[in-house]
């Protein structure tokens, strides 16, 4: 275990009493509680952490936060593994294991680094210009490209962790817990408004965390304590707001147990929690990101952002080097430079400004050599910076003679970009502030305020005043007041001198190919120049052509410089070349958290009937029908599907079968105008349906196509019960309500779903009457209880509505009982029915039985393109009244008499079963293509008929009775021939039904 030789003697927020061991690339190291993986690595002198995406150049830790493009690691192994995690965001825990990604065999000796040598051949978009010949080789080229691309690896096993989502509502949401966010939350919280404050770090304070003592720290502690004492204020730490959507809806992801490591996690906690926040007012205090500057080799490990150096120094007590050169165009790089100098490091500052102002004098006073009007033009080193060339800059940008400075650390600062991401996501427009060379929030699109550095505000006192005012205003707009006075926190930062916009050191084309703008994706100044030259001149073309900003950091560092360089090349201002916009998520958002608990059985909870367990005990195989689980068939020992279905079908025709029909949609209709409603939505007439009777109906859409069918019964003068197909129950209720409420409000009708309120057992077969007679008080004689009627009575002692309707063509009773009695009813009928040979049957037998009778199934024999006339159901289409869809039936195409029509098909070979979905042709060809005239919609072996039967939609089918047609089986199997017939195969005169 190596020692932490770059750890400072004192200071920082780490807990030196708690040493933590961790492994990086197979080597053991030690850090402290409070470290990130990045700070712990730097403390151990480890700079080389990863390889870049395209050229596989060695890369180190560039930043100290979410914007990190380089230091991505594979965290942990096995099922707990996660790719592409930023070392700068990983809180160190004992036993942590991480490896570099995108490097083989290892990060030091990466074979793919050959791309770096070939880099000259691989400019932006090179792949659009080659790999085209020979045509067939692209898939081979692509394989190699794919292997080289990608970053980390997906875990190899299912995720063992649990995730949650939680809704939260607030009057004021404050995003960012730095000084501005704290001041905002205090101002809003003091009014009694419900406030949520969200920050990504484990501790509130943001940039204030960079001082461990002093007035800033004292104020931070008091602010945090005051917020904690407020009942209506919720502080969420380790939480990143990733998305800002319409109507002030925001998404935040809280890391609940990641900092404990998976071995330390508590099983009752989710790993991550996705917060779905609905806010009245939103205040964004999201800070700013420092920018890099383009120079040759600015991507070498040891070249860092100046502010990051300051953070590692102050927060983690780590000095990332001992001999540093800072390269800046603004004042902010001087603070970390002076901190390093104070810590004993040798420090020089190259400042592109010829007159850096007072800050340079203060730096000189502590022994720092300041080079005004100078730039770092290149960095030297192999896998780690060991020196830089600096040169003077002329007024026209001429670069003077370079000289070599030895160093082991470079800190660069190209100015700051306010973190306007969430503001942009919310729909707000950005404005360009030329003085600071940055985009700042412009006109908001929602009730959004932006404060602090995110708003381009510089200086602690100005920032606090702004934040306090925003918090008070937001609370006021939410209906609260009493924010008190703004906090005063004196800043020791003197007035800043202006920044001088500077994006990249002027250089020759060869050198510009090593000036990196987007570090992760290896986009250089040369690439930007190439895109511009080739006409990819809009910002979006630049991004897409070069992949600038498309990495996992989504351009937090590179977008603004890239845009500015493009503007410079075109000789226009930045806003003229375009603004950049941002899309969610702000930082990568875990899929598991997005899914929350809606996985596994909760993805779409299954609906089961009250008789489900009895089916299960009987060995039923279930099928999914919509959300329902329905018995498909009930195989007995040794039976396959065909044997079981044949047995079930024979039982229904010869004895009695029982089907669970609970899942059929049931809609209770009440009111004096129900018949009028039925007349309008069904194709047939309903006014004369008597109480106690039932009738079949077909529904059409306004386009004239069949959407549903079912039986509706009149329960009382003003009371009806409608049934729908299983899958359409909710849709049809909605359909009725839509027409009732929006088009026909004059109709007095209430519609309500009672699908779940009743369990339904259907008994069907010649012995159905005998069976039912044993357990009911109803008179079942054909005269008293004829086909298409219903009666109320008791069955097996349970109050029941019994409907004598049939989907099998047999004597059939559909027994409806309150759902809680469903299992009792089923059990009683099974018991009593045993001597009658009762056989439970499933949906497949139901399908066969109804096909034997030529009954359609909507959705199987129809597909949204079929009219009642196509189905040969002219008898149910009223000529005397209007109904939904009627007008469409007379359009020229719909009125054609040679449309596809439902017919029966009987195969020449009675044992051959046509494939459902088989396409029907009139004239066979040796090979495709051939003209198809229709398709097989339903096809079964009918055990009762001893042969196969089928229904098909065939063009001009009714004129083809007796014709022979062909059904090729291109997926395998012989071409089958069949004769066109009527659709009813069994009991055409209905004597079984009516008996």
């Amino acid at each position: 275990m190596s020692r932490q030789s770059f750890r400072l003697e004192g200071g920082g927020r780490i807990d030196r009493a708690r040493a933590l061991g961790f492994t990086f690339n197979g080597k053991r190291y030690q850090g402290y509680a409070g470290d990130t993986l990045a700070s712990a690595l730097l403390a151990n002198g480890v700079h080389l952490v990863g390889r870049s995406f395209k050229y596989h150049r060695p890369r180190g830790i560039l930043t100290a936060g979410v914007e990190e493009p380089n230091a991505l690691v594979q965290l942990e192994t096995g099922a707990h593994s996660q790719p592409n995690i930023r070392a700068t965001q990983i809180e160190l825990y004992d036993g942590l294991t991480a490896t570099s990604i995108n490097a083989w065999p290892n990060v030091k000796w990466d074979l793919m680094a050959v791309n770096n040598r070939l880099g000259r051949l691989l400019p932006a978009g090179f792949y659009y210009k080659t790999f085209m010949w020979p045509r067939s080789w692209w898939m081979t080229y692509e394989k190699a490209i794919r292997r080289a691309a990608g970053l980390g690896r997906a875990p190899e096993a299912a995720d063992p962790d649990r995730y949650e989502r939680q809704n939260i509502h607030c009057d004021v949401l404050v995003v960012g817990g730095g000084p501005a966010g704290l001041a905002t939350a205090l101002a809003a919280g003091r009014t009694g408004a419900r406030v949520v404050l969200v920050d990504q770090l484990p501790e509130l304070g943001g940039s204030l965390l960079d001082e461990s003592a002093g007035t800033g720290e004292a104020w931070r502690q008091s602010a945090v304590a005051e917020l904690a004492a407020m009942d209506e204020v919720t502080c969420l730490t380790r939480t990143v707001v990733t998305g800002y959507f319409d109507h002030n809806f925001l998404i935040a992801c809280e890391s609940v147990t990641d900092h404990l490591g998976h071995t330390g996690a508590q099983p009752h906690l989710p790993r991550l929690k996705l917060w779905r926040i609905r806010a009245g007012q939103v205040v964004l205090a999201t800070g700013a990101f420092e920018r890099a500057i383009g120079f040759k080799g600015n991507d070498l490990p040891g070249v860092m952002l100046a502010g990051a150096i300051g953070t590692y120094h102050a927060r983690y007590a780590v000095t990332p080097g001992r001999e540093a050169v800072f390269f800046t165009n603004n004042d902010t790089a001087y603070a970390p430079a002076m901190a390093m100098a104070a810590g004993g490091a040798r420090v020089k500052v190259a400042d592109v400004r010829t007159e850096p102002g007072a800050v340079a004098d203060r730096a000189r006073a502590v022994g720092i050599e300041v080079l005004p009007g100078h730039a770092v033009v290149s960095a030297a080193g192999h896998r780690k910076v060991r020196g830089v060339m600096v040169a003077s800059l002329g007024a026209e940008g001429q670069v003077g003679d370079p000289r070599y400075l030895r160093c082991d650390l470079v800190g660069m600062s190209g100015g700051w970009s306010p973190a306007v991401h969430l503001f942009s996501q919310s729909g707000g427009k950005l404005a360009w502030r030329a003085a600071d060379a940055c985009f700042i929030p412009g006109v908001p699109a929602q009730t959004t305020r932006v404060v602090g550095r995110a708003n381009g505000t510089i200086g602690l006192s100005a920032l606090m005043a702004e934040a306090h005012a925003a918090g008070a205003d937001a609370a006021k707009d939410a209906g609260f007041s009493g924010s008190g006075d703004a906090p005063t926190l004196e800043s020791d930062q003197p007035e800043q001198a202006p920044l001088q916009p500077f994006w990249s050191v002027p250089a020759k084309p060869k050198s510009e190919r090593k000036h990196f703008v987007d570090f992760q994706n290896d986009v250089t100044v040369g690439d930007v120049r190439l895109a511009n030259r080739e006409g990819y001149r809009s910002v979006e073309h630049l991004k897409r052509y070069t992949t600038l900003g498309m990495g996992t950091d989504q351009g937090k560092l590179g977008n603004v410089p890239g845009l500015a360089l493009l503007a410079e090349m075109q000789g226009v201002t930045v806003p003229e070349v375009g603004t950049t916009t941002f899309r969610a998520p702000f930082t990568p958002l875990n899929f598991g958290a997005m899914a929350g608990r809606d996985v596994g059985e909760f993805m779409d909870p299954a609906r089961r009937t009250p008789m489900h367990d009895l089916h299960d005990e009987a060995g039923a195989v279930f099928e999914d029908v919509g959300q329902w689980k329905r018995p498909f068939y009930y195989p007995q020992p040794g039976e396959g599907k065909d044997e079981a279905v044949n047995r079930e079908c024979r039982a229904v025709r010869n004895a009695v079968g029982m089907l669970d029909a609970t899942t059929l949609g049931k809609i209770d209709l009440q009111g004096p105008d129900v018949p009028a409603l039925l007349n309008r939505i069904y194709t047939n007439a309903w006014s004369k349906l008597e109480v106690g009777r039932s009738r079949y109906g077909l529904m059409l859409g306004e386009d004239g196509m069949v959407i549903d069918d079912g039986v509706t019964s009149r329960l009382g003068e003003n009371h009806f019960l409608m049934t729908t197909t299983t899958g359409n129950a909710a849709r049809i209720l909605g359909w009725l309500e839509e027409w009732l409420q929006t088009e026909w409000p004059e109709l007095k009708v209430y519609a309500n779903s009672v699908t779940e309120q009743y369990a339904v057992a259907v008994i069907a077969g010649p012995k159905a009457r005998d069976l039912l007679g044993e357990v009911t008080d109803l008179d079942l004689s054909a005269d008293e209880f004829p086909f298409m009627s219903w009666r109320e009575g008791t069955v097996a002692g349970i109050p029941a509505r019994v409907f004598r309707i049939s989907f099998s063509g047999e004597l059939s009773y559909e027994i409806n009982v309150p759902a809680n009695h469903g299992a009792a009813l089923w059990g009683a009928l099974m018991e009593t029915g045993e001597k009658h040979g009762i056989t439970p049957y499933g949906t497949e037998a139901m399908h066969v039985l109804r096909a034997e009778k030529g009954y359609i199934i909507v959705g199987q024999d129809t597909d949204g393109t079929v009219t009642p006339l196509d189905l040969g159901m002219d008898w149910i289409v009223s000529k005397n009244k209007d109904f939904l869809g009627k007008r469409s039936l007379t359009r020229e195409d719909t009125a054609r008499t040679d449309r596809k029509q439902l017919v029966g098909l009987l195969t020449d070979d009675p044992q051959a079963v046509l494939p459902e979905g088989g396409q029907v042709v009139e004239e066979l060809q040796d090979r495709p293509p051939m003209t198809m005239i229709g398709h097989v919609t339903s096809s079964y072996y009918s055990a009762n008929l001893g042969r196969s039967i089928a229904l098909a939609l065939i063009k001009d089918g009714r004129q083809r009775m007796g014709d022979t047609l062909h059904i090729p089986q291109p997926l395998g199997g012989p071409t089958l021939s069949a004769t066109v017939t009527e659709t009813v195969f069994i009991d055409p005169d209905g004597s079984r039904l009516n008996g």
Binding site: G549, T580, R583, E738, P745
Partner: protein, 106 residues
Amino acid sequence: MFLIECPWCGPRDETEFSYGGEAHIARPVGGGHDMTNAEWGHYVFHRTNPKGLHRERWVHSHGCRRWFNVVRDTVSHEFLLIYKPGEKPDLPALPKSPEPPDGPGR
């Protein structure tokens, strides 16, 4: 995710509602049997689909199950008016809705 003010239940999350298409498309009196095919086709299929203010229907399907009408800006997604069936207040006078920021897409 929208926050929609049901005229009967108050503000609720979008997930409780279903969208019901353009509002105020009256079904032709008598069922359109005196219309040409083209006129009927317009009723069934053609919609204004405006960029900007749109009168449309929503139903509180996981709440009171009642339908209502709204005026929504199809660019900003702002709900400007919400009213009950049978009502039809005038469109609000509004500045032209701004173009959405041209997102970067894929």
